[in-house]
Symmetry: C2
Subunit: 302 residues, 2 copies
């Protein structure tokens, strides 16, 4: 099914990547390998970065002018930080041709939609909100990797009046990158990823910061083991990106932070009461859920 | 230095492992490979498990009688769950010969010392409290691994009147297993590991349990990525062991749970106030601390 769908897809002539970092660069690299895109143009404000991207073969050329970058583009991939979405959309708006399809890779979809609305009044039919569930601790175009999206999920969150042909184009390109594409409403996306991604990142940053601030036990990190290293791996993620996510998806993030604090209060009470049965039940149920859903049944590599 | 110290060490004739699971079994396996222990006897209540341990070459023989198990032992390794320490010590007490050195592998040292005191009145000079910082998600003797302690820390927490020769014997055996041995007072140990190990485990169990209980978003786990899998890896740990740790090291665990909840309240406030500068500073400081202490400077493999 997927193979034949991909093989019927003819590809596009011009892709513009606005923000050539890990995410946009990996999208470009993966598509170059498929041969589905004739010409990939990068846009950004850091010329040295764009030169590196050309040297690495991530993009074919670059432009520092938004006008020439998006002129004649079949698709624009907006892969800038969440905090830069509104300004990028603003810069693009005067030059964007009506037939050009725009998609993005932001981790918080309601915030991107609000940014689009702030520029366009309403979300254009050719705007397809998207979010690839993939990343690395390393950021920047030098970390770009054609395999980054292989067997990873990409969530598209089209609105009721989004152009189905635009959604289909974006879907085909992500499939060609090896991704598994799922659709859901933006507000559901934001809830799901606040719980499964944004909250864990905040929890990990918070734990490392707390231990680093408590100096009374000396260099406490020297006693950490593999469990701690894995638990805090996401605390080595990009601070700017996660600040933007926390602030832009703040409603859902705050809700799940509150749910989690309630869970911690409950566990504290069980420990205080020395309620071993209830604590065992909670730990065992968590272990069973993780083993069932993550260890034994992970169809998607990530 | 270490090599010559090990080579001067003559080894022992009889080691008794009480509780032949992952921890005790890996200690036995590692020591067999060194040739420093002539005879390793396992004691436990599950004969099938002990037979498996013999079949796997983890122990030389087993006994279901504590009397014959500890008779003539140079060293007894108590590798039972924290919740079974007191009863194991009680069962051993009538038969233990005064020259036999006893050590343990419990993750909460004050609790073990209290268990020893409850049986002996005071901690015998030949009792050396210890804690190897190593583990796996899988437990049981079938997961035992001669390499488990290679380049891992082992913490010994001798008391003021612990026999220095007993400490040295235990130290030499752990060094022979490839471990790096550190000494610190029991109460410092319990604080350090409440913060760096017990708290993260409770946080991971709590997160998975919370997501599993909130059914309104469907099978939310299908959207998790590599970051979530690593963050929650320790939530696949043994529920009984972690219940015991949480309940036995409850003072230190509750203190750090409270510190952490304070950190979460602080981050919630920053998000509510949309204080991007402070949030960035906190995330960046956590990332810098983790990169400096864990990513770039991990002398100990774990």
């Amino acid at each position: 099914m997927l193979d034949s769908a991909v093989s019927e897809f003819k590809g596009i002539d011009k892709l513009t990547v606005v923000g050539v970092g890990l995410i946009g660069g990996s999208f470009a690299l993966a598509l170059k390998q498929t041969g589905l895109v004739k010409n990939i143009v990068g846009f950004g404000q850091n010329e040295a970065n764009l030169k590196t991207a050309v040297a690495l073969g991530v993009i074919d050329s670059y432009s520092l002018s938004m006008e020439s970058a998006v002129k004649g583009a079949d698709l624009v991939m907006l892969a800038v930080p969440l905090g830069a979405m509104a300004s990028s959309l603003q810069a693009m708006q005067p030059f964007l041709e009506p037939q050009t399809i725009v998609t993005d890779a932001g981790s918080a979809k309601m915030a991107v939609i609000r940014a689009v609305e702030s520029v366009y009044g309403k979300v254009p039919a050719n705007f397809v909100p998207g979010h690839p569930i993939a990343g690395k601790e390393k950021s920047g175009v030098t970390a770009a990797d054609a395999m980054l999206y292989q067997k990873h999920r990409v969530i598209l969150t089209p609105l009721a009046d989004t152009n189905p042909a635009a959604v289909e184009l974006v879907r085909q390109l992500w499939l060609a990158c090896g991704a598994l594409v799922t659709e859901m409403p933006s507000h559901v996306h934001d809830e799901v990823f606040a719980a499964t991604s944004h909250l864990p990142h905040i929890l990990a940053f918070g734990l490392v910061d707390m231990l680093n601030e408590h100096k009374e036990l000396g260099d406490i990190f020297q006693y950490t083991a593999g469990g701690f290293r894995d638990f805090t791996r996401i605390a080595s993620s990009d601070a700017t990106m996660w600040r933007d996510i926390a602030l832009t998806n703040s409603d859902a993030v705050l809700k799940w932070l509150e749910n989690y604090q309630q869970a911690l209060r409950h566990m504290s009470e069980l420990i205080q009461k020395q309620d071993g049965d209830a604590l065992y039940k909670l730990f065992a149920s968590a272990k069973a859920a993780r083993d069932a859903h993550i260890v034994n049944k992970q169809p998607i590599q990530s």
